[in-house]
Amino acid sequence: MKPLKPKNKTQHLVLLALLFAMAMVLALVENSLPPILPTIPGLKFGLSNIVVMYTLIFLGSKPALAIALLKGLFALGTRGAMAWAFSTFGGLFALFAMMLILFIFKNQSTYLSISIIGAVFHNLGQFLMVLLFYGVAMWTLLPILILFGIAAGVVTATSLRFLIPAFKHIHREDDR
């Protein structure tokens, strides 16, 4: 599929707004689901990472950064300051890790690897956040977070794979 090249600022803005709206909906839907493991309340697949990944791959790192930061603000509005800190820190950690992978491997990297790296680093970022805020390293959580990150990465990569046909008309519009 071709990369997205917005013709002007308006198109760029609209595209970003659409993507952010998608991220918000995914985050909302996910927050309303029951926890996957009741013992670890924060454990989620991070479905809105699908949008961040898509933005990073097809639009570039700056728009992806914008989406990640906006996602944090959305968490601030709906779930409070703590959620903002966790969302933003985890999100940026994940984004920078994904950018690094893309930078090293270019188009030799795959959706799956980027997604897994993103999810694992999202979890690592939040683990560091717990360390910062509470001063306790919950080491027992770390292996679970890594393993779950792999699972979450597979889920988001697969979702993106199946969603890409739905994104196609945006790209077609782009060719005109």
Binding site: P3, S61, Y111, W139
Partner: protein
Amino acid sequence: MYDDRRETATMTFFKKSDLILIVLLVFIALGVWWTLPWLRAGKTPVAEIYEGNRLVKTVALTEGQTEVFHLEGIDNVTFRLNAEGSIQFLVSDCPDQICVQTGKLSKIGETAACLPNNLLIKIVPRKFQHKDDHPDIIVH
């Protein structure tokens, strides 16, 4: 940072080399899991026993150590340190026996109280152990 979208947009979904990444991450996770007991070694939790708001005694919950003891001047309550690294109210003369029924405490954050005798056991991590006598909990 990376912004050459023309290249990344042609990525494939999966390559066999991705398995290396997954296996690597699984091994890291297992590695952390296996080194956990080693990280924790020498960090046995500590039981603090309070009378009222006064810290009377601290006991390290060392494994393999069994001990039955009284506090000085309080003979009507007996404590026991168990070999698996736990502590409990063994005998108490109070009417409700809630403290005895609470059973063994071993995890950080667990507490047992005997209100009639004004006694409290609290399990804390070693580094949070009180060096001085300032109370952080007041039992009336």
